[in-house]
Structure formats: structure tokens, C-alpha cells
């Protein structure tokens, strides 16, 4: 519908993906289990992060995203994000990628649903770019790349009206309609109900530019206020906070889009509070946050057996050796509405990444050499994929 949705979709979803992968790779490093076949060092983690971020914020890649176009289908979207995840020395098998995709889409859906004003979608996006910048801050050229991307986003999106942003939001909501995957961390933090719907608070600050419900004002023919009455609003609303910054850097005010997997102090799941909230902060903890990592345990186990080979040729990559699991972690429910088969036990076979890369190569091979804009849904994203091959 809106032709300006794709960049926000990729950057926000990519951002969530980066948060999850970064957190998982850090947890690998902390893992003292010497029986694991391979270990991810902090240098490895940084390399993976740098490679993925460099791909995501590549100039040509972004230019392609920013071109006015329809949104990709879920299938094309997943292919692009899989490519992004595999931009470095790390490989995920199908099941891991499925899980990752579910997590990142539900996280972004949560942010869209709770987005107070349509324009705040941009602040959520900037929270992602800010946090990613922080993750790769040791790499100045990468930081510059992200800044450049942000400048382009500012240029394209700040002139848009509220109606334009509402249309973007509507387009995203159509894409995510009926996705009700239950996410353990969301369930435990009480931001998602057991039926998969998100919890919507009827309290907290109203969005910027809004008035707290409860007042009726009457005016005379000259436009002067002559009387006011009040009514009970039912909720527990407070005045709006200051507006978030739409600049290259600044206080975004909303915490939607910040890294919720970060240890340990971002236990604040209530997006109506700011990052400077006076609510009780959990004590600084050097061990990974158990609640945050619980959801990702499966991913950890799946990635645990990775062999770290310091090779230069990325094509041979790493074979992902996976452990057969006897028991699935509780709570990762998958609702009937999704395409995945619901199963409480997931047995993962050891796979080779060649299967995955063959499929991607095949999809990339379907790219129309002419490079013209084609209408077919199967062609969406092909330009992007081909470009990613060249990066």
C-alpha cells in the first residue's frame, strides 16, 4: 500500500535480528562449557556484527530499499533477512532461522502496535540505528555509514505527514495481521496475553500532542472558551512527555526499538516509561539476564556446536553441527494461525549450510537480468538479493 514502508521494515526487523544475534553470541562467550566443539570469542562476535551491519547499511542496498515500491511478501522478506544473517562467518539452519524470524517479527509487531503516534515509527527506527551504532562503535567507518543512512531516512521521512505515516503503519499492520506467535519473554513480562494478543495499557502518558482525556470545552461564536466540564476517562492517563528527537542523535524518549535483550537493566517492558524512568532498576548483574536468555536458549543450543574456523573464504562457511534436543523449552508456543507446525519437542538434525546457501543461490538465480521492475510477487526482492551477493 504505502510505497515508503520497506526501509522502515528492513531496518527495524534487521535491528531486532542484530540484537538477538549479538546477545546470543555474547552468551556463547560467557559459556564456560569446554565440551562445546567451538567457542565464539568476543572478536568473532564483533566480526559477525560488523559484517551484518555493513551489509544492512550498505549504500547501494539502502538506495534500493528507499526506492518507492510495494512491500515484499513474507517469503521474500525472510529471504532477505536470511541473507543478512548470513553476511558473515556465522550460519543458521532452517529451524534456527525460522525461530529468529518469528522472534524479530513479533518484537517489531509489538513496537508497531504500541507506537503512540504514527510518526513515532521513525523514533523507533532511530532507536534501532542508535543502538546498532553503539554496538559497532569501534568501527568508525561503519558508524559513518549508519549516520549517512540515518541522514537519508531523515531526508525522506521528516516531510511526511501524519496521514502518510498512518498509511505506512497500516501497511505494516496488514503484513503482520494474524501473527499471534507467543514469545516467552513477552508472556513472562506480561506484555503479551496467552492468546497471543499484546497487552495495551490504559494508563501512562498520552502521546506527544495529545491532551489527557476528560475535558469538554465550550466556545462562543467568537471562538472564546466560555465553559468547561469534566468526565471520567476510566483509564489512568498522564500528560504527554516531551517530544523525541528526530535528529541524527538525541533522546528518542520512547523505549520502543531499544534492545530488550540487553542485560541487565532493561527489564522495563512498559514502553510508556522513558529510559530515564525513576522506577526501581534491577541491580547490575554480570551474568546474562535469565529472563532475556530463556527465550533464546533454543537458539543457543542450536548454535552451540559451531566450529570456529578462521577462514577467509566465506563461501565454505561453517557447518552448523547441532545437538539433538530431547526436550523443548517450555513456553515457546506457536499458535495455530501460523504456518509452522506446532510441536513441543524439536529435534534438530545436523545439517550443512550448503542446503541453505543452495536455496538462496537458486532464488538469486531467478533474478531477471534485465533489472526491470516486474510486477510478479516472485520477483520482489530479487534486485536486493542480487545486490547482496555482490557485497
Amino acid at each position: 500500500m504505502s510505497q515508503r514502508t520497506l526501509p522502515l521494515l528492513i531496518i527495524n526487523l534487521g535491528g531486532e535480528m542484530i540484537y538477538i544475534l549479538d546477545q546470543r553470541l555474547r552468551a556463547q562467550d560467557d559459556n564456560d562449557d569446554k565440551t562445546q566443539r567451538g567457542r565464539w570469542t568476543d572478536d568473532d562476535r564483533k566480526r559477525v556484527m560488523n559484517d551484518i551491519v555493513a551489509t544492512m547499511f550498505n549504500k547501494a542496498f539502502l538506495e534500493e530499499l528507499l526506492r518507492p515500491q510495494d512491500l515484499y511478501s513474507h517469503r521474500a522478506l525472510r529471504t532477505v533477512l536470511t541473507r543478512l544473517a548470513h553476511a558473515s562467518i556465522m550460519r543458521l539452519n532452517q529451524a534456527s532461522m525460522d525461530k529468529l524470524y518469528d522472534l524479530m517479527t513479533m518484537a517489531f509487531k509489538y513496537q508497531i502496535v504500541l507506537c503512540p503516534r504514527p510518526k513515532d515509527l521513525l523514533l523507533i527506527t532511530f532507536n534501532h540505528t542508535d543502538t546498532i551504532k553503539e554496538l559497532v562503535k569501534d568501527n568508525p567507518s561503519l558508524v559513518n555509514q549508519i549516520n549517512e543512512a540515518q541522514r537519508q531516512l531523515i531526508e525522506v521521512y521528516t516531510p511526511l505527514s501524519d496521514g502518510d505515516f498512518e498509511l505506512i503503519r497500516h501497511t505494516l499492520l496488514v503484513l503482520f495481521q494474524d501473527m499471534q506467535i507467543r514469545v516467552s519473554i513477552f508472556l513472562k513480562e506480561k506484555i503479551q496475553n496467552p492468546n497471543g494478543h499484546f497487552v495495551l495499557q490504559t494508563s501512562g502518558p498520552v502521546p506527544y500532542g495529545f491532551e489527557v482525556p476528560g475535558l469538554i470545552r465550550y466556545f462562543n461564536a467568537k471562538g472564546q472558551e466560555v465553559r468547561r466540564t469534566r468526565f471520567p476517562s476510566g483509564g489512568n492517563y498522564t500528560s504527554a512527555l516531551r517530544q523525541g528527537s528526530f535528529d541524527l542523535s538525541g533522546d528518542r524518549v520512547t523505549i520502543l526499538g531499544t534492545n530488550m535483550y540487553n542485560t541487565p537493566s532493561s527489564q522495563e517492558m512498559d514502553p510508556s516509561t522513558t529510559s530515564n524512568s525513576t522506577r526501581k532498576q534491577k541491580q547490575a548483574d554480570t551474568t546474562p539476564n535469565p529472563l532475556a536468555t530463556e527465550e533464546l536458549n533454543l537458539l543457543a543450543k542450536l548454535m552451540g556446536g559451531m566450529e570456529v574456523q578462521k577462514i577467509l573464504n566465506v563461501d565454505t562457511g561453517f557447518k552448523v553441527n547441532l545437538l539433538a534436543l530431547d526436550q523443548e523449552e517450555e513456553g515457546i508456543g506457536i499458535s495455530e494461525g501460523t504456518a509452522h507446525e506446532s510441536s513441543r519437542v524439536i529435534n534438530i538434525q545436523a545439517t550443512q549450510d550448503q542446503i541453505a546457501s543452495t536455496e538462496l543461490a537458486r532464488i538469486a538465480g531467478e533474478f531477471d537480468e534485465g533489472g526491470s521492475l516486474t510486477e510478479g510477487p516472485g520477483n520482489k526482492g530479487d534486485d536486493l538479493l542480487a545486490m547482496m551477493d555482490e557485497l
Binding site: M1, R117, L200, I216, F219, P232
Partner: protein
Amino acid sequence: ISKMYHKEKSIHMKSSASSLYNSLSVLRIAPRCLNCFTVVHANVVNMVSASWDGLNYSHRQLQSKEGNVATSSSLIMQAALCVLPSRDLLVLTSQKGIQMYESDGSIMVYWHALDTPETPTAKVVFARGIAAVREKYICVGVSSGSVLVFDVPGKGSNIILSEVLEEHKEAITDMASECSGNLECIADLVSADDSGLLCVWKSGEDFHLLNKIPGFDTCCSSVNLWNGTVIAGYGTGQIRLYEGVTGILHAEVNAQARWIYSLDFAPFTGLEREELCLISAAEDSWVRVWHVSLTPETNSVEIEHMYNECVTDTQICGAKFCDGDGYAFAVTSYDLSEIIRYTQA
């Protein structure tokens, strides 16, 4: 008048509601007996005819059809059941154009294609905003700001586009017609857009612009017209009541904590004043019922809050009265596959 409502048995739909302004449309087929509801899901319209107690209902899913294409994937922006003196029509607006069906969705009687550019541009094209005006007009808004006026005969498919009204510069969001039957009312139609601008029109062979009420760069997502009074809901969660022809602001209500998605009213006449029940709904999960009274002699308007209903954890996108006096209302929300109903206790 104190109205308290309680929840009735919900009506289930085959698919969930999309997040669109004014997403629910209701036709009262037989008062207190039968209602027909339409709710949009992407490129499909869920149509449900339900008995008053909600226990008996039948479904139909209408796929968007455009031109020669059997089913279209273009998204529907709005579906509305339009009541004209001689016939009822179901009107769908989408990215590609406007479709009109017999009110049971059985036969398409008219299709109007919008001019869509060859290659995608930043400015998206769609139709949105539907109103049945006076005896024979159906007016539909477009994303460019144009309002298309269609002349509809008493029966048959000889519908023609009779006029294009160009006043709005931003995408039309909603439109409403005067249906009080009060012949003293000059204004027949009000149109609203993304900038909050309201245009008040008189219908006829040529529609005539009576007034323009500027917005404050805040989207007016839902609008109603009753006895010359414009009742408008905004993206700031506010409701404003204007005198249509003069643009005088009677009252402003800080009504909701999120973007208002739906406003509807059920009129009934008091002895000296015109009174109506108004219902507002927003993404903040609240449905609110108000009592509005207009006193023509003093040209004054009074709005009084009557009732709150929190539809927990939902982003409401449609709320409509099911009958003429506000006895019952129905609610639809994003991602929900049910029409939730409430009746007076």
C-alpha cells in the same frame, strides 16, 4: 438518561478485521431483528447477517474484484453499506478503484477504476470515504483529495460519474451525509481529509461548496453530520462539534488517548431539542458513549459523557450503533475475528 451496556454474545467472522478507519458498517435490515455487518480484512470483505440475539448468523466473504480480474489483491480501504431511498448498495473502495454491489454482495453493479501511475511513485493512490447523499448520490473520496459524485438510478447498473469535486489537497479520510430529514438543513455532505480540513457541501446537479473548516494538520479520521452540526473525530483523540455552514466551533472534547478510528451516532428527537447518542472508539481500547443535544433556538450544543467501555487489549477500529436509538452497538478491532456486541442493560 443513563445508559449502561452489557456485553452480548460475539459474532464470529471468518477472518480478522484490518486496522482501518470506520472499519465496521452496519445495515439495519429489520429493527431489533436483523443486522448486516461488513468488516474489511485485507482484500476481502466479511459480511455477516445476524439475528438480534446473535445466535443465528450467516457469512459471506466478498473478494475484491476489479475490472476483469476475478479476484484482486489490492487492499480494500473501506466498505460501507449505503442506504438510498430506492435501494441499498454495498460500496468498496480500494487501491485500484471503487466497486458497487447489491447490498447482499451478490452482484457487482458498477466498477470505477482510479488513474494509477505506470510505475510506483511515492504518492500512493486509493479511494476512501463513502457516503450516500439525498435521493440518488453516492460520493466517494480519493487519495488525491478529489470527491467523486456518482448518480445512482433507482435500480439497475446505469450508474454514472456525474461530478468531481476538487477542494481537498490531502487524502480523503471519511465522508458523511445529512440524514435527519430536516428540510431546513442546507448542508447535505461533509468530507474530511488527512490534514483535518472539513468541506461542507450542498448536493444537486452541481454540488456546491458551502464552507471549508480548516484543520490543524491533524488527521480527521471520522466525521458525522446531524442537523447541520458536524461531529468530527481526530488523530489527536479529540472530538469537535462545529456548526457546518458557519464553521463555528461549539465544543471540543479531549475524548481519547489514541487516534480516533470511528464515530457514529443514533438520532432520536426530543420535544424541544434534537438529541442523539454518539459513540467514539479509538486505538486506546476505549469505546465511549455520549449524549449530544442541539437547541436550534439558541443555536447551542451540549455534549455529555454517558458511558465508558474498555475492550481490553484491543485497538478498536470500528464502533457502530446497531439500531436507531442507541440501544445496541457493535465493535471491531484489529486482529480480532469477532464482532463484539453490547446492549443496554
